[in-house]
Amino acid sequence: MTDESSSEGLLDSSLLADCSRSEPSDRPNILKALLAIQERIGYVPPRSIPQIARTLGATEADVAGVLSYYQDLRTTAPGRHVIRVCMGESCVANRCGQILRALKDHLGIDIGETDSGGQFTLEKVFCMGNCAVSPTIAVNQTLFGRVEPAQIRTIVDCYR
């Protein structure tokens, strides 16, 4: 992930054009554009909302509304690795609370925080569909099932 946003949080015009492009038969789509921007630079800078709105022909309120609605859209850069702890019911039944505690202790951060080195962001998620081998954590796109608190250190340290 490269930093294509300038220091003021404004987007490069070619990046913006790329991310808001749609097929001729498509209608302009705010969510799709925001996801595309996030895919490229890791988050959507709130200062870029007017730019995005202008490009898509939407109001700033529309763009800000979509940006604030979806849990997966970020307004700040995450750590290099995002660790998500599943809090779905099957994981709850299989003591995901202990996993979460082990992660918090090991990383020294709470849910929604990034460690001081910018390496790890800790998040919770409601169900990864991995229920039959719960409890589950995900590091970026890789899932780990039947996780035990004692394994947390080993799993996390593979990504350091």
Binding site: R27, P28, N29, I30, L31, K32, A33, L35, D62, G65, V66, Y69, Y70, Q71, D72, L73, M87, G88, E89, S90, C91, V92, A93, N94, V125, F126, C127, M128, G129, N130, C131, A132, V133, S134, T136, Q141, L143, F144, G145, R146
Partner: protein, 497 residues
């Protein structure tokens, strides 16, 4: 020279418990060919390695690296048919699972793939809909709405554009059968969409897939591409394009109208109904919104006939149900059986009882909005009517079992906090009610609540049930109120004297 072919699942849950590590070790063996299939759904046995031997398919379960030399030498293992969890199932929608490679179009065809579509293409639309009516197929996503009726409404509405939208926002915690279908048998979903498009005259298809399922989205994208290359997306003389669209982590987007808002790029806020999407849906055009499993069930119905489907299950719950067992049991995994078996029998026969050292406390059926069943209520048959009579829901078929270490007050708080997090905010009962509900349960936890607060919680629940716009607010009180109903002491013991 290849001497041995080994079969390993490529399903996300199989990979999450180490199948890829085994595959990597085996790759270095020069005389071994690896075939990555879909999963049989017996996840408690994963990692599994299978091999064809003179006496048939042999299976090695819970394999570790140390077992590999023995497997290569053909030592040990058990016959596939000897695994009761699999042998006792009736698989139709999941008939290919564990057998085919997900993206092998020829393998899908060999196993009756596209037979349903072939039949539909030579059948008049109203006759296809009649077949679905005879079949008695009801939506498997949770609402259990008769599918034929949606298709009929879309067929009868005249418009230049119509859409088929597959709801792949499988957000109910404890469910994973849609993920399995998309990862493991993606052409079945494509076939179901094509049958629907041909019947109602749809011009474009979308699969709205939750962000948490990257492998499922990848598999669907690849399958759509392969189908397109093979000319399969040519329908009635024009191309029927199918797009896979990713969600962004909102649970309520599994509700069909919120999903359509999100697909249009806006906040995933619920729309008031009517109009129903079949008449006015995506961009106000007639739109069939159906869950993955529902659409994937259509091909078998067309291929085998509606009467075949209607012959399975119970009076008003026809066909099979895909139960997804999770939580504190010995044998979590996917179970496809005809409707009608009791919950108790499912837990005994398939779940295999509790995980070692655990004692049963409650089973939750139907995801985070589903009711809790204590031991005394397990004799309920798994079908829509019995559940509806009990004020419960089958939802998307998830069953999560909790053990005696579960704190019911904390669990109830967890449910309300979930709804408060996920409420779209459009209607007051859900937006405010879920927050007030969570606060009341936190008060119980802190030891500051009185009997009057529990009464207030119950009143709040009644308001949410009757006045919420969609099932999120309308169902959210059920797990909480059933927790209080069946485990009253856990709540009352924490009240302020």
């Amino acid at each position: 020279m290849i001497h041995t072919t080994l079969f390993l699942s490529n399903d996300t849950s199989s990979r999450a418990v180490g199948v890829d590590r085994l595959a990597k070790l085996l790759q270095d063996e020069s005389n071994v060919r690896l075939v990555r299939t879909s999963s049989r759904g017996a996840f408690f046995l994963e990692p599994i390695i299978e091999r064809d031997m003179p006496d048939g398919r042999i299976v090695w379960c819970n394999v570790t690296a140390d077992d590999l030399p023995g497997i290569l030498a053909g030592q040990g293992g058990v016959a596939l048919q000897s695994i009761p969890f699999l042998a006792a199932q009736t698989r139709f929608t999941f008939s290919n699972f564990g057998i085919t490679q997900p993206l092998a179009l020829d393998e899908y065809r060999t196993r009756d793939g596209f037979r349903g579509l072939e039949k539909a293409l030579v059948t008049a639309p109203d006759k296809v809909i009649e077949e679905l009516k005879i079949a008695g197929l009801r939506g498997r996503g949770g609402a259990a709405f008769p599918l034929w009726s949606k298709w009929q409404a879309a067929l009868l509405t005249e418009e230049d554009e119509k859409f088929v939208v597959v709801n792949a926002d499988e957000g109910d915690a404890g469910t994973y059968c849609d993920r399995m279908v998309m990862e493991g048998d993606p052409f079945r979903l494509v076939e179901g969409m094509l049958i629907c498009a041909h019947t109602v005259g749809a011009t474009r298809g979308y699969i709205y897939c939750r962000q948490e399922y990257p492998a499922a989205a990848g598999s669907m994208k690849a399958a759509v591409h392969i189908a397109d290359e093979a000319g399969l997306l040519e329908l009635d003389g024009r191309r029927f394009p199918i797009d896979i669209v990713m969600g962004a982590g909102s649970y309520v987007c599994g509700e069909e109208t919120a999903l359509l808002e999100s697909l249009e790029g806006r906040r995933g806020v619920v729309r008031a109904k009517p109009p129903f999407p079949a008449v006015s849906g995506l961009y106000q055009k007639p739109t069939i919104v159906s869950n993955v499993l529902t659409v994937a069930t259509v091909p078998s119905i067309l291929a085998r006939g509606g009467a075949w489907h209607a012959s399975l299950g119970t009076d008003r719950s026809r066909g099979t149900i895909a139960l997804q067992i999770g939580g504190r049991v010995k044998q979590p995994g996917l179970v496809e059986i005809p409707f009608g078996m009791t919950l108790r029998r499912v837990l005994e026969q398939f779940a295999g009882g509790m995980a070692s050292g655990s004692r049963f406390k409650a089973a939750q059926v139907g995801g985070p909005l589903g009711s809790l069943f204590p031991e005394s209520k397990l004799d309920i048959p798994i079908c829509y009517d019995a559940f509806s009579d009990a004020g419960a829901i089958l939802g998307h078929g998830g069953i999560v079992v909790y053990d005696d270490q579960t704190d019911m007050v904390e669990l109830a708080r967890h449910f309300m906090a979930f709804t408060a997090d996920e409420s779209c905010g459009k209607c007051t009962p859900c937006r405010i009610g879920s927050v007030r509900g969570r606060e009341l349960l936190e008060l119980v936890q802190a030891g500051g609540a009185t009997t009057a607060d529990l009464t207030l919680l119950s009143d709040l629940g009644d308001t949410m049930k009757t006045a919420s716009l969609c099932a999120l607010g309308g169902r959210a009180p059920y797990p909480v109120l059933t927790a209080i109903e069946h485990f009253p002491h856990e709540f009352k013991d924490r009240l302020k004297m």
